[in-house]
C-alpha cells in the first residue's frame, strides 16, 4: 500500500521544485492566472488523493471524471444543483433537462437520471450548452466553476457510459482528495512551526502550538479511518467538517502566512480557498451529530484493532480521536459514551499524546512519501 502510494506521489514530482509544473510554486502561479496546470498524466483513482495534495482544481477539472468512469481522457466534473439532471430517450438520442455546477473546460462527466437509475454521461466539449454565468468563487479558479443549464438539450445516446453511476464512490474519491489537501496544509504548517522562532524558541516548543498540530493531525487520522472503514454518511458529512475545522486551526497557527498568496507557504491559502469553494459546490452541510461521531469512532477502533502498523495499532492516537469525536456535534449529547473514553484526560496525559502525535507527524514529514 505504502509502496504504491509513494510511487503515485513520485509521478507528481517534488512539490518544492520550482521547475515542476505540479510543484507548489507553479500551482500557485497557475491559480493566480486562473488556469489549470497543463500536465499529461493518466488519472487513476489511486492518484486522486495525492493530486488533491497539489491542486483540487486539477482533481475536479480533469482527474475525477476519468478516475470514476475509467475514461481514457481527462474531463471536467459537474455537481448537481438541487434537482437531479434528467435524461429521456427520444428517437436514438437523449434529451437533458436540469442545471449543474460545472468545473473545468472541455468534455464534462455528468451524472444523469435515466429511467430511475443514476448513470454517467460524457458530454463532449462541442455539445456543451452555452456556459454561464461563471461564478465569482474564492477558489478553484483554474476550473472556472459555472452554471450549466440544459433545456431539452440533445446528446447522442452513445454519450451514455455503461453501468450505473456510483455517487458514493465519487464522494469517497473527492473526500480523499480533500484529505490530500489537508495533508499538505498540515505539512506546510509543521514546516513553518519548526523553522519559526517565537519567544526565543521554535514554535513547536509552545504547548498550544503542539496541541493545534496534534488536533489537526487527529482530524486527518479520523477522516482517514472514515474513508477506510466508515459509513457513507461519515464520508459525506463528517469528513468535510473535520477538514474545515482542521484547516481553520492550522490557519490560526500559520498566522499571517495563511493570508499570503505568495512566498513559500502560499499553497496553504490556495488549498483553503479551494476547499471553501468545493464545499459551496457540494451544497449545504449540516453539523454532524452524535450518531455520526459514534460511527466514526467505530471506524477508528476497527483501524486500530486491525492495523499492523506500529503507530496505528498503538492506543494513543485512538484516545485522541475518541476525545475529539466526543467534542463534536451536539455538546449536550456527548458521544461516544463516556465509559468508552480513556480514564486519564489530565493536561499531562494530553500533553503526552500531543507529543506522540507530533513525533509521528515529524516521522512522516521526513521522507517525501505520500500520506498514510
Amino acid at each position: 500500500m505504502t509502496a504504491t502510494l509513494s510511487r503515485t506521489a513520485d509521478r507528481l514530482g517534488d512539490p518544492a521544485d520550482a521547475a515542476n509544473p505540479l510543484g507548489f510554486a507553479a500551482l500557485v502561479a497557475a491559480d493566480e492566472r486562473g488556469e489549470l496546470p497543463a500536465v499529461q498524466l493518466g488519472f487513476t483513482p489511486e492518484l486522486v488523493r495525492a493530486l488533491g495534495g497539489r491542486d483540487l482544481g486539477l482533481v475536479l477539472g480533469r482527474a475525477l471524471a476519468p478516475a470514476l468512469s475509467g475514461l481514457p481522457r481527462p474531463a471536467g466534473y459537474a455537481f448537481l444543483r438541487e434537482e437531479p439532471l434528467r435524461a429521456r430517450p427520444v428517437d436514438g438520442a437523449l434529451l437533458l433537462d436540469g442545471q449543474v455546477h460545472a468545473t473545468g473546460p472541455g468534455a464534462l462527466l455528468l451524472t444523469v437520471e435515466l429511467a430511475g437509475t443514476a448513470r454517467y454521461l460524457l458530454l463532449p466539449a462541442e455539445l456543451r450548452p452555452p456556459a454561464g454565468p461563471f461564478y465569482r468563487t474564492p477558489g478553484l479558479r483554474g476550473c472556472r466553476p459555472h452554471r450549466l443549464a440544459f433545456t431539452g438539450h440533445r446528446v447522442p445516446a452513445d454519450a451514455l457510459l455503461p453501468g450505473p453511476a456510483d455517487p458514493a464512490r465519487a464522494a469517497r474519491l473527492l473526500a480523499g482528495a480533500t484529505l490530500g489537501a489537508l495533508d499538505t496544509q498540515l505539512r506546510t504548517t509543521l514546516r513553518f512551526a519548526e523553522q519559526r522562532e517565537l519567544y526565543g524558541r521554535p514554535v513547536t516548543a509552545l504547548p498550544s502550538a503542539r496541541a493545534a498540530l496534534a488536533e489537526a493531525f487527529t482530524d486527518l487520522l479520523i477522516a482517514d479511518c472514515c474513508l477506510a472503514r466508515g459509513t457513507a454518511a461519515t464520508v459525506e458529512q463528517l469528513v468535510p467538517v473535520l477538514v474545515r475545522e482542521a484547516g481553520h486551526r492550522l490557519a490560526l497557527l500559520l498566522g499571517a502566512r495563511s493570508y499570503l498568496r505568495e512566498g513559500e507557504h502560499a499553497i496553504f491559502q490556495k488549498h483553503q480557498r479551494d476547499l471553501t469553494t468545493l464545499a459551496a459546490l457540494r451544497g449545504p452541510l449540516h453539523q454532524p451529530g452524535a450518531r455520526l461521531a459514534e460511527q466514526a469512532a467505530q471506524a477508528c477502533r476497527l483501524v486500530q484493532q486491525q492495523s499492523a502498523d506500529p503507530f496505528r495499532s498503538a492506543p494513543h492516537w485512538l484516545a485522541a480521536a475518541l476525545h475529539r469525536l466526543a467534542g463534536l456535534g451536539d455538546p449536550t449529547a456527548r458521544a461516544p459514551h463516556p465509559h468508552d473514553l480513556p480514564p486519564n484526560d489530565s493536561p499531562a496525559a494530553r500533553a503526552e499524546r500531543d507529543q506522540l502525535l507530533l513525533d509521528e507527524l515529524r516521522r512522516r514529514q521526513r521522507p517525501a512519501t505520500s500520506p498514510s
Partner: protein, 556 residues
C-alpha cells in the same frame, strides 16, 4: 432608542449615499470592481476624508473631533459594513497616530494632528518578516548621535507602509533589546534622504486585496532626535497601550463585516422564520453589545482596558468568522457562488474578514494577554471588586462619557474586570422566570471558570494549551456580562418588547451558553420568529442591524 451617536452615524451615511447605487463613489459595486483589480480605494478614501472621518481620528484636545471612542467605533463599523478593505485602509491612520496621541510631546502631537486633518496617511510599522507577533524579538535598530537617530532594518506586512507619508516605527534603541530596549520613532518619509529607505512591494493577500499591505526597509535612515515618541525605551509600553485602543476598534471592523454578511444572507433567503438568520442576528447583537461597552470603557474604565480590548479582539472576530461560516453553510451555495451580475458578493467579505483574527495581535496573542492576567481576574472575581461608577458609565447609553484619559491606561488591570466581576450580582437581578434558568446556568459557568483560572499556575514560558481554552471561555463570559449590564442599564429607555421583556438578552444568553458548551445554542421558536421579523424589518426599512435605531442611506 436613538442615541446621539446614531444621529452622527445617520448624518455620515447620508453623506456617503446609497451603497446600492453604482454611481456612488462608495458603492458595493465599486468596491467589488476595485477588489477584482486589486486596486487601492483612493477615491473612496478621499470621500471619507471629505466627510471628516480623518478628523475623527484626532483627539478633541488637539483640535480634532475624536470626542468618544463610542462614536469612532460606530463610524468605523459604518465604513466596514460597506467594505472591510476600505475600512482597514483608512483606519490605519488612527493606528499609526495613536501612539503619538498617547505618548508624543505636545508640539509633536499638534503637528501630527494638523497632518492627519489635512489627509496625510500615517502607518504603524511593528511586525517583521521573521518575528511577527513577537515584538521583543524585533530587529530593526537605531544608532544615535547628539541629535539624530539612524534606523536600519526591515518592517514587513505593514498597512500603508508605502502610501503613508508618516510611519511610526518600533525600533530597538538598546542593542540588547528587552522590555525597556525599544522606542517609537515618528518617521516623516518625505524628509528622509533619498536612498536611505525603500518601500517594499505590496504583498498579495487572500483578502483586502486593494489595501496597501507592504513593508519598508530602512538603510541607516537618519531622523532628527525629536522623532522619538515619548522617552527612549518606552516604545513597547506605548505600543501595547495603543493596541488596547485599536483592538477595541477591531470589534467595530468585524461587526461591520457581520452587518454586510447578514444583509447578503437576508437578500438571498426565502421569507419566513429562519433559525440560521435568527441565530446569526443574535450573534451580531452580542458582538454589537460587547463592542459598544468596550468602546465606552475606554472612557469609563480605562484601567481595565487591557482586559476589555483583549476580550473584544479575541471574541468578536472569532464570533463573526463563525457567523460567516454558518451563513455560508446554512444558506447554501447561493452566497458563495455569486454571479458577476450581482454587485455584492459574499465570498469577498469572507476572504476579507480572515484578516481580522490575524492582524493587530492575532487571536492567540490576545488570549495570552488574558492568561497573563488570570491571577488578578480570579482574585477580583472572588472579592467581587467592581468600579460601580465606571461600570454605570460604560453601560448607561444615555449618560455622557467623560473625556478619554489615556494616561490611565495600564498594561495590566490591577483589579480585573468590573464587567465580569459584577456578573453574579447582575444575574441575581434577572428574576423573571424566562431568564431564571439562563441566569443560573451562566452563574454556574462563571463560578466554574474562575475556579479553573485560579487553579492554573502558568509560568510565562510554559502556558499550557488548556489555558487558551479557559481564556476563550473568559471572552464568552465577558460578552455575556456586557449584554446583561447593557440591558439592565438601558431597559427602561426603550418601550419595545425587544428591550422591555429583554427578548434580545434571552437570545444572546442562549447563544453564549452554547459557546460555553452549556446548551445547544439553538433559539426557541418564539425567538426565531421575533428575531427574524425584526431583522427583516430593519433590512426593509434600510436600518442598521442593531439593538438601537439607526437609519441608513440604503435602499432595501
Amino acid at each position: 432608542m436613538k442615541s446621539a451617536v446614531a444621529q452622527l452615524v445617520e448624518c455620515f451615511d447620508r453623506g456617503l449615499g446609497d451603497p446600492h447605487d453604482p454611481l456612488q463613489i462608495f458603492s458595493f459595486a465599486r468596491c467589488q470592481e476595485l477588489d477584482e483589480r486589486e486596486e487601492f480605494p483612493t477615491e473612496i478614501c478621499q470621500r471619507l476624508d471629505g466627510l471628516g472621518l480623518a478628523r475623527r481620528y484626532v483627539p478633541a484636545a488637539l483640535g480634532g473631533e475624536l470626542h468618544s471612542y463610542e462614536e469612532l467605533a460606530a463610524l468605523v463599523r459604518l465604513v466596514a459594513r460597506r467594505d472591510l478593505t476600505v475600512a482597514v485602509a483608512h483606519v490605519g491612520t488612527f493606528l499609526g497616530a495613536a501612539s503619538v496621541w498617547l505618548a508624543g510631546r505636545p508640539e509633536q502631537a499638534a503637528q501630527l494632528a494638523r497632518e492627519v486633518e489635512a489627509g496625510s496617511v500615517v502607518s504603524l510599522a511593528l511586525s517583521e518578516r521573521e518575528h511577527g507577533s513577537d515584538l521583543l524579538a524585533n530587529r530593526v535598530r537605531t544608532s544615535g548621535g547628539e541629535d539624530w537617530y539612524r534606523i536600519a532594518g526591515e518592517k514587513w506586512l505593514i498597512g500603508n507602509a508605502s502610501r503613508g507619508q508618516l510611519v511610526c516605527v518600533l525600533a530597538r534603541t538598546e542593542p540588547v533589546g528587552g522590555p525597556r530596549g525599544f522606542s517609537l520613532l515618528l518617521v516623516d518619509k518625505r524628509r528622509l534622504a533619498p536612498g536611505s529607505y525603500r518601500c517594499l512591494p505590496a504583498v498579495r493577500t487572500v483578502g483586502i486585496r486593494g489595501a496597501d499591505i507592504s513593508g519598508i526597509e530602512f538603510r541607516e535612515a537618519e531622523v532628527p532626535a525629536d522623532a522619538l515618541v515619548g522617552a527612549a525605551g518606552t516604545g513597547l509600553e506605548t505600543v501595547l497601550k495603543c493596541l488596547q485602543l485599536t483592538r477595541t476598534l477591531c470589534g467595530a471592523l468585524s461587526l461591520g463585516t457581520a452587518d454586510h454578511a447578514l444583509r447578503l444572507a437576508v437578500r438571498n433567503s426565502a421569507t419566513g422564520a429562519n433559525p440560521a438568520l435568527a441565530g446569526a442576528y443574535a450573534d451580531l447583537l452580542v458582538a454589537e453589545a460587547v463592542t459598544l461597552v468596550a468602546a465606552r470603557a475606554v472612557h469609563a474604565l480605562p484601567g481595565e482596558l487591557s482586559v476589555a480590548s483583549a476580550a473584544v479582539k479575541a471574541f468578536v472576530p472569532t464570533l463573526v468568522e463563525e457567523l460567516i461560516a454558518d451563513l455560508a453553510r446554512e444558506l447554501g451555495p447561493a452566497l458563495l457562488l455569486a454571479e458577476p451580475t450581482e454587485a455584492d458578493s459574499f465570498q469577498k467579505l469572507e476572504r476579507d474578514h480572515h484578516i481580522m483574527s490575524i492582524f493587530d495581535g492575532n487571536t492567540a496573542v490576545n488570549l495570552n494577554a488574558l492568561v497573563n492576567q488570570f491571577d488578578a481576574l480570579a482574585r477580583g472575581y472572588r472579592r467581587a471588586r467592581v468600579d460601580q461608577a465606571g461600570l454605570a458609565a460604560a453601560t448607561t447609553l444615555s449618560d455622557p462619557l467623560p473625556a478619554a484619559d489615556t494616561s490611565r491606561l495600564a498594561l495590566f488591570s490591577r483589579h480585573g474586570s468590573s464587567l465580569v466581576q459584577s456578573l453574579p450580582a447582575a444575574l441575581a437581578e434577572l428574576t423573571d422566570p424566562h431568564f431564571a434558568p439562563l441566569a443560573a446556568a451562566l452563574a454556574e459557568q462563571a463560578e466554574q471558570l474562575h475556579t479553573e483560572m485560579a487553579e492554573l499556575r502558568p509560568s510565562a514560558r510554559e502556558v499550557p494549551a488548556m489555558a487558551y481554552e479557559l481564556a476563550r471561555r473568559y471572552t464568552v463570559l465577558f460578552a455575556a456580562a456586557g449584554c446583561v449590564q447593557l440591558w439592565l442599564h438601558n431597559r427602561t429607555a426603550d418601550d419595545s418588547p425587544f428591550w422591555q421583556h429583554g427578548d434580545w438578552l434571552r437570545a444572546a444568553l442562549i447563544r453564549l451558553l452554547g459557546q460555553l458548551g452549556a446548551g445547544s445554542g439553538e433559539l426557541p421558536a418564539d425567538l426565531v420568529a421575533e428575531l427574524t421579523e425584526r431583522l427583516r424589518h430593519q433590512h426593509k426599512a434600510g436600518r442598521l442591524f442593531s439593538l438601537l435605531d439607526c437609519q441608513l442611506e440604503e435602499s432595501a
